[in-house]
């Protein structure tokens, strides 16, 4: 069974109780329709588990399939440098069918970020390097497509439906 080789650190984007006994980690791609479908699922899991689970997100853009995936990941990372990662993460998934420069500028403005600064950031490699580093850590950990979830440090290979995932997280909490 594939296990997470790069542990969650303070550098990660984490939502929820940092001390939670269970971590749900997603390697995702903002342009992947399956990740789009998993987005409300994760929200529901967060609601269900409350303080007992934290959620982390890492980038795994499938650039050969999805032309805007890497740019979208960089946009979210840019928002993250201004403390708005999750707002952008959500906005990107909620507008998945409109990914592109126009949307990126629009969302940046909506979140009170400077669209010109975003453009500069996208031209530089720094944030792209972070996205690629997520991707590499994913490969090493057995990420096999998007989305790939890990519950604590184990890859989740069972069906991605609410009931099955609730049971799997309950099992992890009981360990």
């Amino acid at each position: 069974m594939a296990t997470l080789k790069a542990p969650i650190t303070e550098q990660d984007h984490i939502q929820g109780n940092v001390e939670a006994a269970c971590t749900l980690l997603e390697y995702g791609d903002y342009q992947c329709p399956h990740c789009g479908a998993a987005y409300p699922l994760v929200k529901n899991l967060q609601k269900h588990f409350g303080n007992r689970m934290r959620f982390a997100y890492r980038n795994f853009p499938m650039t050969q399939l999805h032309a805007e995936a890497e740019a979208a990941a960089v946009v979210a990372e840019f928002a993250g440098t201004h403390g708005k990662f999750w707002e952008m993460h959500d906005a990107l998934f909620e507008n998945q069918d409109r990914l592109g420069d126009d949307l990126f500028a629009e969302l940046a403005t909506q979140l009170g970020l400077d669209a010109a600064e975003l453009q500069q950031a996208m031209a530089k490699r720094t944030l792209t390097d972070r996205v690629r580093a997520d991707f590499s850590s994913g490969i090493r950990s057995g990420v096999n497509g998007t989305p790939t979830f890990f519950i604590n440090d184990r890859r989740y290979d069972r069906p991605r439906d609410y009931d099955t995932m609730v049971s799997a997280i309950e099992e992890a909490l009981a360990e």
Partner: protein, 155 residues
């Protein structure tokens, strides 16, 4: 699940169609590592697709000078369309006629369904299998095992 050929076994040679008018043989690739990825079928769901994943991480394989080859029982025209649709940058071989012969030679054929297993082989520059793995057919095995095996070849 099939019993796939194990490390230390010489990799059975083969020559299979890679395009409608071209064949590729394993022996042509002697001198560099080869990753053979048997898989059940073209056109499985998009983003969880094993070949799409390998396509994405091709540069990691190339760092080890390794040649990646996908093999399924799909015909060569099917592979051509799939390659184009998914923008794949590595060869897919058609183990089509006699059906599954190469998959069978590697112990990577799932008889009941008439398709190749999800079986992976890392072959060294001398044509010896150095790592093999057969994944449950519904589980895309990812690439971590392949990369570890390629690293081990260099030690």
């Amino acid at each position: 699940m099939s019993t796939v050929l194990t490390p230390g076994t010489p990799a059975p040679d083969f020559a299979l169609p890679v395009t409608p008018d071209q064949k590729l043989s394993l022996s042509e690739l002697r001198g560099r590592p080869v990753v053979l990825a048997f898989y059940p079928a073209d056109w499985s769901p998009v983003c969880g697709d094993q070949m799409a994943l390998y396509n994405e991480i091709l540069p990691e394989f190339q760092k080890h000078r390794a040649e990646l080859i996908g093999i399924s029982v799909d015909g060569v025209w099917c592979h051509t369309a799939f390659t184009k649709d998914r923008n794949l940058h590595f060869p897919l071989l058609a183990d089509f006629e006699p059906k599954g012969a190469v998959s069978k030679a590697y112990g990577a054929y799932f008889d009941a369904a008439g398709i190749s297993e999800r079986a992976l082989f890392v072959i060294d520059k001398d044509g010896i299998i150095r790592w093999s793995y057969c994944s449950p057919i519904a589980v895309n095995p990812g690439a971590d095992g392949i990369l570890e095996a390629l690293e081990a070849l260099e030690k």
